[in-house]
Amino acid sequence: MKKADDFLAEHVKGIPRSGIRDFFEIVQKRGDVISLGIGEPDVSAPWAVREAAIYSLEHGRTGYTSNSGTLKLRNEISAYIEKIFGQRYIPESEILVTVGVSEAIDLALRAVLNPGETVLYHEPCYVSYAPSITLAHGRGKAIRTKAEDGFRLDAKAVAEAAEGAKVLLLNFPTNPTGAVLRGRELDALAKVCVEKNLLVISDEIYAELSYEGAHESIVTRPGMRERTILLHGLSKAFAMTGFRIGYACAPAPLIEAMMKIHQYAILCASTLSQEAAVEALRGAEGTTHEARESYRIRRDFLRRKLEEAGLKPTNPAGAFYLFVDVRSTGLTSREFALQLLEEEKVAVVPGEAFGPGGEGFVRCSYSTALDRIEVAAERISRFVKKLRQGQPQLAAAR
């Protein structure tokens, strides 16, 4: 007789457990932890958004919607995208509402990949990219970005890796590094994508959280609109993670192919959440501006405190993470995170969870409230100081 394990598909068996999930379970066992480990805003969705959800329930809007999402929402998305990304998409044929950007990534990969085809992605990166490629029967090829380049993606590195690749998966601003691509770097990257005939799947979920000037999308560069699937959603900018609303914008044939999978696997995103999303996008301007300014204060504060403690945080131009170089402590990123949790009850995420290129770094999220960040920063400083006192040779090496 077969064991339960024997029924599993080989490509699923090969996917390792998520490093974040492992670490989460350790943190869960300890009470009273200040967490800089969260990948979401620490506030609830704006009240107007929550109220819209209640209104929609009161009025009995509890049925399915169109597979693509309500036209009302797609119209709002179209107007919003045109405003902040500078690109127009036709609501009826070029926009698909999904269950978070996570679903949209899965759909995009499954819609375009034949088994064994190669997807380039930059790393350290969001935890789902490599597994999603594997699950779509693709072959992932990581391009390592480096701390000394601010973890930005170099167009030359893409050109060198592009031989035989079909897709380039991008995420700027980047989780976990906060890196942003702009101006000429983006021009150069777009040029390589056209020359090498790459399809780009661009996850721009942190677009609103760009601190040094407005967000720039690769889709605005010459020749890119027809070869880009632009992914965005409401989770981060509107603190709506639990509503699970994302969307894909792309030329009609690509959206149509993604739709084929979406309609059979998911049918439609939650009706209630779609109603809430309409309200969020209508009141967007004030919400996102306020959030950005508040994050900026927290970012500047935490970065300064960590620098004073002798650590080397990145200078993130986007998202709400600092990727902090802890190599000078002599610890691996996992040891650092575990000991910090043990001794000072502060949770940060070991960089290795975001791929081998994250080793030596930890991710500190500054989406936590400022007064909590103050305490956390104090504790991290104390922890690093103790480490250095215990290891005089490291203090000297600084």
């Binding site: 974040i20 989460f24 620490d42 609830s44 204060i297 504060f301 949770a347 969870a353 400022l370 103050e374």
Partner: protein
């Protein structure tokens, strides 16, 4: 807005030292900036927001709609200033719509607030009429909710 003001708006109780830490300025720079803001009357004051049901010194609060006659020179300003100067008046605003001034009055008990309205407010020259509404319960004040949201369950570590 200056991050210093943004932080103070939410957390008015922070010391100059803490503000310096948060904004990356020196303590001296923060104090200088604060003095300037105070001198320019950008910062008008620092107050705690109290739940008077809990302090036990609640007293009585009334919102009063006041109709007044605008004057040839100065419009509503002179009478409004005259009303606003009473210490019983907590806030005083000129409104559009069916009345002119909306004022909030506080007193130790109903009788004193009623007395203020009938003896002082109504008798000011130019005041045509008043409509007094006594406050029953506070749900939100100065942007602060008096009811507490349930603590939302949030994962301590998430991707």
């Amino acid at each position: 807005m200056d991050p210093l003001l943004q932080i103070l708006k939410e957390r008015g109780r922070l010391s100059s030292g803490e503000l310096a830490q948060l904004t990356g300025k020196t303590e001296k720079e923060v104090e200088k900036a604060l003095r300037q803001y105070e001198a320019d009357r950008v910062i008008l004051g620092y107050q705690a927001i109290l739940d008077s049901d809990k302090t036990g010194h609640g007293g009585v609060r009334a919102v009063i709609e006041v109709k007044i006659t605008p004057e040839r020179e100065g419009g509503f300003d002179r009478i409004a200033a005259r009303v606003a100067r009473y210490p019983e008046v907590v806030s005083c605003q000129l409104m559009s719509g069916g009345y002119d001034l909306l004022i909030v009055v506080e007193g130790p008990d109903l009788k004193r607030v009623a007395g203020f309205v009938s003896e002082k407010l109504s008798t000011i020259q130019g005041v045509i009429s008043t409509a007094t509404h006594f406050q029953l319960k506070t749900y939100k004040e100065a942007g602060v909710l008096f009811l507490q949201d349930d603590k939302a369950e949030r994962l301590s570590v998430s991707p």
